[in-house]
Symmetry: C2
Subunit: 113 residues, 2 copies
């Protein structure tokens, strides 16, 4: 519990990042740095490169995403990640689970007010 609730925020991200990344990939294929940039626009979920790449590797290993190398017009090649069919199913399941948890927490917080 290093710095009160900045540390806690990181724990909160932990449970949600995988869902957020799958959600972003559901729209269109993206590459690692692009995900970092996209998430940076949502301060609550912003993460560093050192978090994204291991996460993408885990998703790929689990078969939820596949990747394709593609040349960049302006820099080093990029590895685009696409949702697979199992990935899409998992995203749906996670979405439901998230909504359920979110609703439950809201209930607990309101019930004790």
């Amino acid at each position: 519990m290093r710095t009160e609730h900045e540390a806690w925020a990181s724990q909160l991200r932990k449970g949600v990042l995988e869902l957020a990344v799958l959600g972003l990939l559901a729209g269109e294929p993206k590459y690692g740095s692009q995900l970092v940039d996209d998430l940076a626009t949502h301060p609550e979920l912003s993460i560093s490169a050192g978090t994204v790449y291991p996460l993408l590797a885990r998703l790929a290993k689990a078969g939820l995403v596949t990747s394709v190398w593609q040349e960049s017009p302006v820099g080093p090649p990029r590895k685009y990640y696409t949702l697979t069919e199992p990935g899409r199913r998992t995203l749906n399941a996670m979405t439901q689970a998230f909504r359920a948890v979110s609703a439950t927490v809201t209930t607990i917080l309101e019930g004790q007010r």
Copy 2:
């Protein structure tokens, strides 16, 4: 990623358990087993004793809760945990953070539909 999304659910709990426990204690002092039972009524957040006691110990160490031993009419003594003033403030901060994250995730998920 042991069993697909059962394992994920545990990661999702990770970020939210502390908030849920503080939320439950905001109503009235409770003891460990009682928290386990309370949370068991919310399947999404149900946890085991081996999770609650370390968590309570961390909260106590951080000064967010205090505990008092109290005799039980029917069994071994119970350790009742009460929210401290800093605990209450932390609960409020966490509640806001949770709402922000929840809203952001919802936005991401809807944006890609």
